[in-house]
């Protein structure tokens, strides 16, 4: 059927019908069409003809769940309208002061990340630097959080599923005061609490990680429990793009849409590299937007280093109801440290303090 739809295309009236039927509930198709005919000034007969096409294409359906009739989009209908909608996010107005704070904080965090890895003699610089702006935006300007009480039961949850970016998470947590700054110098040290990958022993860390591909399933469980308990908290799961090679991610993607977890938001740090090279060379991910949409997700694409776009996307995810949202954040691996930018040699290569001095970081 999808081939048929692509071949013949959808006209404007059909798109209007799909959008309206997704947003509003109608008890019967005829009442929907009468209503929409008035609202959009389109003759009823035209709408009727187009609705018939949509029904024949199996994009809409009259359901009879629990004895209540309702006009609904079929899964394929949702797929098609989501595909039409998945453009860049709408303009989102943000206070310039907020942007200023986020910019400053990201710079501090990046410096911390580099110093931590240099001090420890190991760590993943590239993947940490690509995700910094996402983490800073979430923890500073988005998430509901009590920095004095990181175990607050009503808080939004954060899972860093790409656990190797732990230095970025720790540095952001240090800027909020949850982790003492002194600890950053003891990253990966036997005396310190900040291990190479996130651990729930660390204040502010909601979930262990380090083995890729597990965070989204955990996010599903968290989101379900919070929803059932009536707690209006969100669960944010940050995944790497290379991580999407793991089959469990797609098991979880199906679970999230089955459970209609609209309090679950995935951010994919699309830095285009994984350990052994380009994602598209190792195990091609594209068309990635289509993959997520076809798994029943609402998808937003943003520049992962643009705070305005990130905040806009998080806001749009809040507004999206009935299913989970995936934000594909296009980033640069190693962002902010010129030798590492887009250079996969810095995936897990140790950096030296000498290098930091030469590049003016310290």
């Amino acid at each position: 059927m999808i081939r048929e739809i692509i071949k013949r295309g959808l006209n404007n009236n059909q798109v209007i019908l799909l959008k309206e039927l997704r947003l509003n509930t109608y008890k019967s198709l005829s009442s929907a069409l009468r209503n929409l005919s008035r609202k959009h000034g389109i003759p009823l007969s035209t709408l009727k003809a187009n609705a018939k096409v949509l029904r024949d294409l199996n994009l809409i359906n009259v359901s009879n769940g629990n004895g209540v009739k309702e006009v609904v989009l079929t899964p394929m209908g949702h797929f098609v309208i989501e595909l039409l909608n998945s453009t860049a996010i709408k303009d989102f107005t943000v206070d310039l002061d907020v942007i200023k704070v986020l910019t400053e904080r990201s710079e501090i965090v990046r410096r911390h990340v580099l110093e931590m890895v240099a001090e420890a003699g190991s760590g993943h610089v590239g993947a940490s630097l690509s995700v910094v702006d996402i983490l800073v935006t979430l923890l500073t300007a988005k998430m509901r959080y009590d920095f004095k009480n990181p175990k607050w039961h009503l808080r939004d949850r954060l899972i860093l599923s790409k656990g190797h970016a732990a230095p970025a998470l720790y540095a952001v947590l240090a800027t909020t005061g949850i982790i003492p700054r002194d600890e950053l110098r003891k990253f990966r040290d036997i005396e310190g609490i900040l291990q190479g990958h996130p651990d729930t022993e660390i204040p502010g860390v909601d979930m262990v990680s380090g083995s890729l591909g597990q965070g989204l399933s955990i996010g599903c469980g968290m989101a379900l429990a919070l929803k059932n308990d009536g707690i209006p908290a969100k669960v944010y799961v940050i995944m790497g793009d290379g991580e999407l090679d793991e089959g469990q991610v797609w098991e979880a993607a199906m679970t999230a849409s089955k459970l209609r977890l609209d309090n679950l938001i995935v951010i994919i740090d699309r830095n285009k590299y994984q350990q052994e090279g380009l994602t598209e060379a190792v195990k091609p991910l594209e068309p990635l937007v289509m993959k997520w949409i076809s798994f029943g997700w609402h998808v937003i694409e943003v520049d992962g280093h643009n705070f305005r776009e990130l905040l806009g996307a998080f806001n749009e995810a809040d507004e999206h109801k009935g299913g989970p949202t995936a934000i594909i954040a296009h980033t640069v691996k190693g962002r902010g440290f010129p030798p590492a930018e887009g250079n996969n040699k810095y995936h897990s290569r140790p950096i030296t303090k000498e290098e930091l001095r030469l590049t003016g970081v310290i």
């Binding site: 039961h153 949850r157 651990d199 729930t200 909601d206 979930m207 262990v208 380090g210 083995s211 591909g213 597990q214 965070g215 989204l216 399933s217 955990i218 996010g219 599903c220 469980g221 968290m222 989101a223 379900l224 429990a225 919070l226 059932n228 308990d229 669960v235 089959g247 469990q248 098991e251 979880a252 199906m254 679970t255 089955k258 459970l259």
Partner: protein, 305 residues
């Protein structure tokens, strides 16, 4: 076993309003379906995806729920790494129940018969491992384990096992002495407890007094009782529906060899896979897991004493 499992879940579900059950499309076979019928809001079928099963269970537990995650033992092991890396590392309150373990699923063959799970779960730090001998003991263990904090693995078979107990108070980490004896101690778990009782009765006729110890908690092992009977009898046989490598036998030997070395024999699956069979008895014979196999091991070990 699984029917008792399902019924006990319903009882526990009534007691604890924060208990969730997660299954990987096997509810009508693990009998978690009974829980699902009674508490649909606290039941999730994640589909045929064991890794996701463990993840979803972890997420629920991290928000403070008590979680039981259940599916076929063989396939739960597919998510061993998720169990290790998420549940155990974060010390989450998830209890795994692996069903159809050992030889109970005789018909389906080696893909479904699981002889490795005890070894795999036993080596995970902080993981408790429990193998009830019959349905009464399962009921007791499950009730106890839900009260307990942290991760645990309960291993059960498919069908109703031969009764060992008329009543059963299960105390985690405390072995049950099913029969007392002075010449040899048979330490067993699961179905092998009733086989051991059969063997011990046969052995009486030839003048060997065998104790039977049901070591339902494989980890943490009841070292005290094991050592007490090692000293009392001077010979030991371990019986389990599991590979002789890494299971209860290894756990017992780890204690005995360090604290009180005595002759010890192992009745178990001899590092091999199972085979399809038309009856449990046929497979039991094929793999050497009968009461006669236990008796033979006892006779041998008593001579070495």
């Amino acid at each position: 076993m699984r029917l008792t499992f399902g019924r006990t879940l319903v009882e526990i579900g009534l007691t604890y309003s924060d208990l969730y059950v997660v299954d990987a499309d096997s509810a009508s076979h693990t009998m978690t379906s009974l829980f699902a019928e009674n508490f649909p809001d606290r039941f999730v079928n994640v589909g045929i995806s064991e890794q996701d099963l463990v993840g979803v269970a972890s997420g629920l537990a991290s928000v403070g729920k008590k979680v039981i995650a259940s599916t076929y033992a063989s396939f739960l092991m597919r998510a061993w790494e998720q169990i290790r890396n998420t549940v155990a590392r974060a010390k989450l309150n998830v209890k795994f129940v692996g069903t159809h373990a050992g030889i109970s699923n005789f018909g389906d063959g080696p893909s479904h018969q699981c002889f490795e799970d005890i070894a795999l779960m036993r080596v995970i730090p902080g993981m408790k491992v429990i193998v009830p001998a019959d349905s009464l003991e399962l009921r007791g263990c499950l009730t106890e384990v839900v009260k307990d904090e942290g991760p645990a693995y309960i291993r059960i078979g498919r069908d109703e096992d031969e009764r060992v107990y008329d009543e059963c108070l299960c105390r985690l980490g405390v072995a049950n002495v099913v029969m007392d004896g002075s010449d040899v101690a048979i330490v067993a778990i699961g179905n092998m407890v009733s086989e051991s009782v059969k063997a011990a009765k046969e052995l009486r006729n030839v003048g060997i007094s065998a104790a039977v110890i049901d070591s339902h908690t494989v980890k943490p092992l009841d070292r005290e009782t094991i050592l007490k009977y090692a000293m009392k009898t001077g010979a030991m046989v371990v019986a389990e529906e599991h590979n002789v490598l890494g299971g209860l036998g290894s756990a017992v030997a780890e204690v005995i060899s360090r604290k009180y070395p005595i002759p010890i024999e192992f009745v178990g699956v001899d590092d091999t896979f199972g085979h399809s069979a038309r009856s449990l008895g046929d497979l039991r014979k094929f793999l050497g897991l009968t009461s006669s196999d236990i008796s033979r091991a006892v006779t041998k070990v008593v001579r070495e004493r």
